[in-house]
């Protein structure tokens, strides 16, 4: 094991409701959805209409800005509805499952294919969006050649799924084929980042990749932080990264010739009765998972809890019968915080978690918290300094970057490192911000602005 890269800045938020290492082998809800909002910057052009029959792998829509990139159905069935939001923006394409039919993309040995053939297969099957890029933290442009490809082998976010457990329950042969595919996509290195606490031998013995070890608190598991420390993105550079579970799906595409984006998902959070792992598929409705599995507190109705696809810092709020996001391997359920608190800013705060030591809870270092969605204050201007730096392990000045985005100063954004960041890297800054500023939205605005400016 090479010497681990020590991440000193960051914060582990100690929450209740970690998943037990129990796998529910089959969770097949009746409905699935593909959500264009999972892919920032993608402008969907629909290829199906309600009532159409689809197979797993049938194109549902493609990106108008990059027509090669197709988004396909994860299961076979019938297109039920195209849900639109404000200004007719497409939010979800719903599919009622029926049968187990799939489009055959043909088996292939990755060693015998050239890069173009590999890319075409990924693009046609709907697995290409699994490959994302810095700068901008968006679906990768298939015309680029990245200087390197990154895989994060651990998720350090609060209550996040244990990737060791997941990969040990996934077919190893698909994983290994997936890694071979990634190696063909770059002339540079494929880096696999592992935590010093990773246990999976499959991960530790992955052939053909550079393994880098990390130690330290969240966000050490964020791929952006790992890129920054291993092979940082400079102006003009492109780096790609793929989630661990999607590598298995990519391998299966080449081994079996079908798009079958199976996933193991951790259902976690203080409001979950039995927090466990479920084998399901990208885009699955969470309804079967959460049904009868949510604690009711003093008979309160279900609108007093929040369902999140993803982790508590970066996930999307969804309905109790909502759908798993494309990139998510965690579903979190936490209490809503829609209550008034009597003189809350002056009380000792025995249930409050804080990076600062302004609440008595800092005296209880092992305590696990049932955190809710209350903002704990009103939005203010930037006042306190030096706090964001404590939780952002990058050589970047967060407040200065945020301010340059707010005034839309393109040159400054570039100089201050916008190419290296994603909103998820700033999630902890948002969490600890005493001024309650929506930092992740600001970063996304900056990334979108920059992407438009450079295109």
């Amino acid at each position: 094991m090479s010497k681990p890269i020590k991440i000193r800045k960051g914060l582990n938020i100690r929450m209740k409701g970690k998943a037990d290492k129990v796998l529910i082998p089959e969770d097949r809800p009746g409905r699935f959805a593909v959500k264009p909002i999972d892919f920032p910057g993608v402008f969907p052009k629909m290829c199906v209409k309600p009532g159409d029959e689809v197979k797993a792998g049938t194109t549902l829509f493609f990106d108008k800005n990059n027509e090669k990139v197709k988004y396909t159905a994860p299961v076979s069935g019938e297109v039920l509805e195209i849900v639109r939001g404000e200004r007719r923006r497409i939010l979800e394409v719903l599919i009622e499952t029926r049968g187990d039919d799939y489009i055959s993309f043909g088996k292939a040995d990755p060693e015998k294919l050239d890069v173009t053939a590999i890319k075409n297969k990924l693009l046609e099957s709907g697995l290409w969006p699994a490959v994302r890029q810095r700068p901008y933290h968006v679906v990768a442009n298939p015309d680029d050649t990245p200087k390197s490809i990154f895989i994060s082998g651990f998720d350090s976010a609060p209550l996040a799924a244990d990737l060791d457990f997941i990969i040990d329950h996934m077919p190893e042969e698909h994983y290994l084929t997936g890694i071979k595919i990634l190696r063909k996509l770059t002339e540079g290195n494929v880096y696999l980042s592992l935590s010093t606490e990773n246990t999976s031998n499959v991960l530790k013995n992955t052939p053909g990749v550079q393994i880098k070890y990390f130690s330290g608190p969240h966000p050490s598991g964020n791929v952006g932080i790992q890129i920054h420390h291993i092979d940082p993105v400079n102006k003009g550079d492109v780096v790609w990264y793929v989630n661990l579970q999607d590598i298995v799906s990519i391998g299966r595409l080449f081994n079996e010739g079908k798009y079958a984006p199976d996933k193991i998902v951790a259902l976690v959070g203080s409001e979950v009765e039995k927090a466990r792992y479920y084998r399901t598929r990208t885009g699955a409705s969470i309804s079967t998972m959460v049904k009868g599995n949510i604690l009711t507190i003093r008979g309160k109705s279900s609108n007093s809890v929040r369902y999140i696809s993803g982790d508590v810092l970066t996930g999307q709020m969804i309905q109790p019968d909502g759908y798993l996001g494309y990139y998510d391997s965690t579903v979190t359920v936490i209490p809503e915080g829609n209550y008034y608190e009597f003189f809350g800013w002056i009380t000792p705060g025995l249930k409050k978690f804080s990076l600062s030591r302004t609440f008595l809870t800092w005296l209880m270092p092992g305590k696990k918290y049932r955190l809710d969605t209350n903002l704990h204050g009103g939005e203010r201007a930037f006042v306190i300094t030096g706090e964001y730096e404590k939780v952002l392990p990058m050589d970047i000045y967060p407040m200065q970057l945020l301010k340059s985005i707010l005034v839309e100063d393109i040159d400054k954004m570039e100089q201050l490192g916008i190419y290296e960041v994603a909103e998820e890297d700033f999630a902890l800054c948002e969490f600890i911000c005493p001024s309650k500023i929506e930092i992740q939205s600001i970063i996304r605005k900056g990334l979108d602005l920059m992407a438009r400016e450079m295109s």
């Binding site: 938020i13 809503e336 608190e341 809350g344 002056i346 704990h376 009103g378 203010r380 006042v383 005493p434």
Partner: protein, 385 residues
């Protein structure tokens, strides 16, 4: 608690837009969020948030100031009874001090918060918490006998021109409390310097013991009357004439401990201000040509407003430097300048206020160079590939 909440919900519509009392909307909001932390939940981004908010930050500073406030109140009484050469009990002194301090505090808060609420109403913002601390700092850095009307004008000036014209808390360039003090210092110097203003009722001169002088240690030192200065122990404990809250180094250090421990105040700034002051003092010692320059460097740290400025003024995150490296430079320069002004410029017996205001102005420049270095690092990295 629930009954109170119900009552508030009942009268709330009257204060909203279109209600009978909509002119008091900001005042109502301010009181409501003071009593109840709102039920607002996260809608975008992180679903959970740290328990801390600006109110919690401000109350922590407030708590850190309490030792200095309590000692200040006691010291007002102590100095007064010493000046008229009357033996008095502890509670008698505290009561006298309390009666002297209360009007200062009330004027500061009522006038300052009044201006804040008017601005919040005009802008349609929530009332910012910034003045919560500023309002307590101002009475602590003025002489006890400052006329209340002067204080009121200074507060209005500080809040409007020191803060609101820039856009409110978080946008100001200078520390508002020091703006108030500087305003008083330059507009009404008679009430802000000399030997008479630091002790209650000394200006009137009634019943003052013949041999008594109300001069502060800094005034003695500036006249090279080093022998007349109080002992170091007295200066450390704070039983000396001076601005209300600045005299007791020990009370201020208690506050510093709270600020550093909770993480609310920057320890880097506090430590570097003291280091800068000590360094400058040593330099002056080395080239000493008069008794003031000969004062042992470390004694400077317990004299005048140095400690108070270092702990409660220089650490203001808005007017200070925003980068962590910048904080070291900022603090060091404040310490150096404060002692330099104090010892070498006879026109200004206390250098701390001017040193901090001066460095407030330079803080963005320091940050600029620190950030520029980061930008260069990034460019260099790009080229080396």
């Amino acid at each position: 608690m629930k009954a109170l909440r119900k009552q508030i919900d009942k009268i709330k519509p009257h204060f909203e837009k279109g209600g009978k009392f909509q002119i008091f909307r900001s005042l109502f909001d301010a009181v409501e969020v003071l009593i109840f932390v709102p039920d607002r939940v996260t809608s975008r981004g992180s679903h959970i948030r740290d328990g801390i908010d600006m109110k919690r930050v401000m109350i922590t500073v407030w708590i850190a100031l309490i030792p200095a406030v309590l000692f200040g109140i006691y010291n007002i009484g102590l100095q007064y009874y010493q000046s008229i050469n009357v033996e008095a009990g502890l509670w008698q002194m505290v009561w006298f001090g309390f009666l002297k301090f209360l009007p200062l505090l009330l004027v500061s808060y009522i006038v300052g918060l009044g201006v804040e609420i008017i601005f919040a109403q005009i802008r349609g913002h929530e009332v910012n918490e910034g003045y919560f601390v500023t309002g307590l700092l101002i009475p602590l850095i003025v002489p006890v006998d400052v006329p209340l009307w002067q204080l009121a004008i200074a507060v209005v000036f500080a809040v409007i021109l020191g803060k609101e014209v820039f856009g409110g808390t978080g946008m100001n360039i200078l520390n508002p409390a020091l703006v108030a003090r500087a305003f008083l210092f330059f507009s009404y110097p008679k009430w802000m310097s000399g030997d008479l203003v630091w002790i209650a009722n000394l200006v009137k001169g009634e019943g003052v013991a013949d041999t008594f002088s109300g001069a502060t240690p800094l005034a003695h030192a500036a006249l090279y009357e080093v022998d007349n200065m109080p002992s170091v122990m007295e200066m450390f404990v704070g039983t000396i004439p001076g601005s209300v809250g600045e005299t007791s180094t020990i009370a201020i250090l208690l506050g510093a401990a709270i600020l550093i421990y909770t993480g609310v105040g920057s320890w880097k700034i506090i430590v570097s201000v003291f280091a800068g002051g000590l360094g400058m003092g040593l330099l002056l010692n080395a080239f000493a040509v008069n008794p003031y320059m000969e004062i042992p460097a470390w004694q400077h740290l317990v004299m005048g407003g140095f400690a108070f400025g270092a702990v409660f003024m220089a650490t203001d995150p808005v007017s200070g430097t925003q980068t962590e490296t910048g904080k070291w430079i900022y603090g060091l320069l404040i310490g150096i300048l404060a002692i330099l002004i104090r010892v070498l410029n006879p026109a200004f017996p206390e250098g701390m206020m001017l040193a901090i205001l001066f460095m407030n102005v330079f803080a963005p420049l320091i940050d600029y160079y620190i950030v520029q270095a980061n930008i260069r690092r990034r460019l260099k990295r790009a080229k080396s590939n």
